[in-house]
């Protein structure tokens, strides 16, 4: 048998912490309790996917249905397994093995699997789990991740939560598997806020909507009476900021997605648009239209003090902070056409960073800080691309008739954007793509959808 690091392009990976250690934490939103399950002593050379290269070979992973602790738990056990499998498959990094090929039937979560039975079907990793409804009504979810060829447990955790939170448990387990096998944080326990679009193209009804990253649990935040655009998450609170056409001038608003409370951001004489939070959640940057020019302003949400950051006879818009909060990338046509500029957070020292052919717009700084994603218009096509903050290393991730408005998954590895299907009956739909340009996936939404924004990790 070939060692896994030759078969699967995997690297050595440090072992998990000392066996028997119990770690628990509480996630504020769901009151999940998490404990690491100790099973066997950690091994020193375990499975790992190297995701630094593009077009990697997906890792075969077996995810048999989680064991049901009691008879009535079978449904939720199966549902949780399905969500985990879908998450991992959609990431493009894993190939779930067809369950019809399984040799061993996992019935006892507390026993080690028969590794030979999983090796023979070429599963590199195996996930086992158990779902039990506790006497107090809470759901107990346990899982273990196994390195099949090393015959070792890689991680094991257990959670307690309310039964309504079963999807979140599935996402959190998916994130744990992803993190253990890639060495990077996952992005499954996240949400997307977007603009839901219905009705004919010349009379679209637009509503703010929020859903899980996999398209589940869609909830509408506005009723469609006002035109709404460009929602963005707060990195630190349950607020979103967006633009709405209400009253005489369209305005930037804050909306608390838990309470529904809404307020105007700032008291500006004219249209405000293109809002985005600072990384500490304390400020909103946006454009203010002043006659034929748009300039970028910042408002401190506590003091309500506003600061002017740009002052040029041009359209300066789409500001986005660097994750350290020290710089802002934005687009401006001050040089004659839309290009990307980086300035200090106080507005000083703006420098143009885009110099390729075409027009560049909607820049968004990666949460990792290493890249800036953008929309590019070139030769009648709309492209999504990335470049380094100094403008070097430009790469196109996808192109076509119309792609627009990238947003980053919190781990800085996946981007979501919207793509317009042309034609009278056409409209925008959400898509995701890996940073490498591979694994283009349509994101399910109830209707047409645009302007996606990815939340931070919820857990």
């Amino acid at each position: 048998m070939m060692p896994i690091n030759q078969m699967m392009n995997v690297q050595k990976f440090r072992p998990i912490g000392s066996s028997g250690a119990l770690i628990s934490r509480v996630a504020a939103v769901t009151c999940l309790v998490l404990t690491f399950l100790a099973f066997s002593s950690p091994a020193s050379a375990l499975l790992r996917i190297d995701i630094t290269e593009g077009n990697i070979q997906p890792l075969p992973i077996a995810i048999p249905d989680f064991v049901a602790g009691g008879g009535r738990d079978a449904q939720v056990a199966g549902d949780i397994t399905d969500v985990i499998e879908t998450n991992l498959r959609r990431s493009g990094l894993f190939t779930p093995v067809d369950e019809n090929a399984f040799v061993e039937r996992i019935e006892n979560f507390d026993a080690a699997p028969r590794f030979g039975d999983w090796r023979i079907i070429n599963a590199q990793a195996l996930v086992t789990g158990r779902i039990t409804v506790q006497p107090d009504g809470r759901l107990k979810a346990e899982f273990r991740l196994w390195d099949v060829f090393a015959g070792q447990q890689m991680t094991g955790q257990q959670f307690f939560t309310t039964p309504e939170n079963w999807r979140r448990v599935a996402h959190i387990i998916s994130d744990a598997i992803y993190e253990r096998l890639t060495g990077e944080k996952g992005y499954f326990d996240t949400r997307i806020v977007f603009v839901d679009e219905t009705g004919p193209k010349d009379n679209r009804r637009k509503r703010l909507a929020i859903m899980d990253q996999d398209g589940a649990n869609v909830r509408y935040l506005t009723n469609g009476g006002d035109l709404v655009l460009t929602p963005r998450f707060s990195p630190t609170s349950q607020d979103i900021t967006y633009m709405a056409f209400t009253g005489a001038d369209p305005r930037v608003f804050l909306l608390n997605i838990e309470t529904g409370q809404r307020e105007i951001v700032g008291n500006f004489p004219g249209m405000t648009f293109a809002p985005r939070f600072s990384p500490d959640g304390q400020r909103v940057v946006m454009s203010l239209q002043q006659g034929g020019n748009a300039n970028i302003y910042s408002m401190d949400l506590r003091s309500r003090r506003t600061t002017r950051l740009t002052n040029s006879p041009s359209i300066d818009t789409a500001p986005s902070f660097s994750p350290d909060g020290r710089r802002i990338v934005f687009e401006s046509d001050r040089g004659g056409s839309q290009q990307l500029y980086v300035m200090n957070a106080d507005g000083s020292n703006p420098q143009r960073i885009s110099f390729g052919d075409g027009r560049y717009s909607t820049p968004v700084w990666s949460p990792r800080g290493d890249l800036i994603a953008f929309t590019k218009l070139h030769q009648g096509k709309f492209l999504i691309g990335v470049m380094r903050p100094d403008g070097s290393g430009e790469r196109v991730l996808t192109e076509g008739f119309h792609n627009e408005g990238p947003t980053w998954a919190p781990n800085g590895r996946v981007l979501m954007f919207f793509r317009e299907v042309p034609g009278e009956a056409g409209g925008p739909q959400l898509w995701s793509v890996d940073l490498t340009g591979f694994n283009l996936q349509k994101v399910p939404t109830p209707s047409f959808a645009s302007d996606p924004a990815w939340s931070p990790l919820l857990n």
Binding site: D202, P250, G292, A294, T317, T362, L377, E424, S450
Partner: protein, 161 residues
């Protein structure tokens, strides 16, 4: 009192307009009947005989000779009917990004407002708003539609006051 007089005249105009539209609808092929039935000083008069919109080249805000001619007529008409206020909407085609198009639409509506002011219209009668690419009138995916959507529309907004 003057306000009442205007208001009364408006009601009469509105009735006449409804009647005129009815006639126009019955004789849609007869331009003389349809055109002649439009009441001077009515919204219909402004839209049909003056022209409520001007068009722009790709990513441009400069006013073409045709656009200026239309706006000259708008200014003259507004001088004749000083009771009206206008909202000037700026629009862009779908071949731009959302945020930029909001700015571009605002630039177009500002260009129209500035031109009308230069032709003697009191700036206090004019409001502007940008809809970016959010309100297309033509929905195909080629230049024949995009050229109709790159527009500024002057909307009379106190018809019933």
């Amino acid at each position: 009192m003057l306000r009442n007089e205007i208001s009364r005249r408006f009601r009469t105009l509105t009735l006449a307009l409804v009647a005129a539209l009815f006639v126009a609808g019955c004789a849609a092929n007869n331009r003389d009947v349809a055109g002649g039935a439009v009441q001077p000083g009515s919204v219909q008069d402004f839209v049909v005989n003056v022209g409520d919109r001007v068009f722009f080249a790709v990513d441009q805000t400069t006013l073409s000779p045709t656009a200026r001619a239309t706006l000259d007529k708008q200014a003259q008409w507004l001088a004749l009917y000083p009771q009206y206020q206008l909202t000037i909407e700026g629009h862009a085609d779908e071949r731009g990004t959302r945020e930029y198009n909001l700015g571009l639409g605002a630039r177009r509506s500002t260009a129209v407002r500035d031109y009308l002011v230069s032709r003697g219209v009191d700036a206090s009668r004019l409001n502007t708003i940008s809809y970016g690419k959010e309100r297309p009138v033509a929905v195909c995916n080629d230049e024949s539609c995009w050229s109709q959507n790159r527009r500024s529309v002057s909307v009379i907004n106190n018809v019933s006051s």
